[in-house]
Symmetry: C2
Subunit: 223 residues, 2 copies
Amino acid sequence: MLFKIAVDCIIFTYDQQAHQLQVLLIRRENAPAQGEWALPGGFVDQLEDFAVTAARKLRQETGVDVSYLEQVQAYALTDPTAGQRLASVAYYALLDVAHYAPAADRTHYAQWVDLAQLPVLPFDHGQKVQDAWRRLQEAARHRPVPFHLLPRKFPLNHLQKFYEALYQVPLDNRNFRKWVKGLPYVEALAEVEQGVSHRPSQLYQFNTAAYSAYEQITQRTPY
Amino acid sequence: MLFKIAVDCIIFTYDQQAHQLQVLLIRRENAPAQGEWALPGGFVDQLEDFAVTAARKLRQETGVDVSYLEQVQAYALTDPTAGQRLASVAYYALLDVAHYAPAADRTHYAQWVDLAQLPVLPFDHGQKVQDAWRRLQEAARHRPVPFHLLPRKFPLNHLQKFYEALYQVPLDNRNFRKWVKGLPYVEALAEVEQGVSHRPSQLYQFNTAAYSAYEQITQRTPY
DNA sequence: TCAAAAGTGTTTCTGGTACACCCATGC
DNA sequence: GCATGGGTGTACCAGAAACACTTTTGA
């Protein structure tokens, strides 16, 4: 039994204005579900790892390289209306919104959509988004996820807002700041925000080298 | 481009005598890698969810239903010697060793092998075992994994040995017992072990209802 | 001087870790 | 009575959680 295999990509970004995680959706140009909003992706048409396929498709869609790409899982399409055997492998990716804004004139083809306000998606795309989100939350416990989605220099409050959006919980800002300051790989800069009508915030940045060192020695307790 | 899709199963069990996690391997009856030890599995030949396929293949192999089945991930076989496009989806499963012992006369076809002493496996099966093990370790932090692999009634020390095997670290038994006694879903029985030449150990069992209740209220802290 | 958001410390509590000896049984 | 593995408690420390006011800027 032979299958066509699709890769579906859940591309997350973070909207600093709205303090919301967003997902990139495109309007499907072909049947089935033509004209509906759905996840970007495409069929595997080369002999290569699925991650490579996913990265390639995304580069075609957006013109940029995503900075983080992980497999969610594989899904069998149990309702193959087209009479074809279909399987799909979902990947989630992170993309700084500043690096990719859908062209204004193509707004009808690709758009960032708030995770909280997703339309009903065709096929199993809704499920895939949920699964990917869960995976992203899990990944962010062990890995420096937010730095892919924030500008290089950011104030701590933005970082906090990001975590609040990711986990959908409010965080205590004093405890949060204390926690971040204990991380050796988040480094305070001498710089502050400019031109705001309130006390300017100090800027921080992610330190890759410090993170590598830190990663080496990190161990998790069992059970 | 069309693919054949295989499911590969990493079936874990726990050997109480050796205090070792084990994986079920079979001797491949067909080329490629004919006669070598490899993971059980087979090609997807029905229109159904991959998990269902995996469960079916395992029932065919072992004659029993596994009690836990989770997808690891999908892999593209990047070196298709057969000239065929192959993909595979790995699943890991848990099976109480008491429920399935490979028939003695078929020892050459299926066998439990210590995770610590795996032979070199063909294809990417070695990688898959490692990935599955990692996933199992992760799952055991949040879910009552061990109870699928221990007899219904067990002494706490066996539970401890299981965790030591799973995470490959020694645990302090006083702290471990303290931890377990704090879990509402592990319930002490009035019964003790019989016929051992040392102090008999008290038996415990997993309480499904208590676990369901506990699961509801469990929340993990973000970041 | 006001509005708006940034920033700051202390106390309490909980859970993790380290550590050494007595107990019940069969032989 | 001895060998074998089962079973117990306490003190210390680190990290999480709760909690309210002052600071800096532009308008």
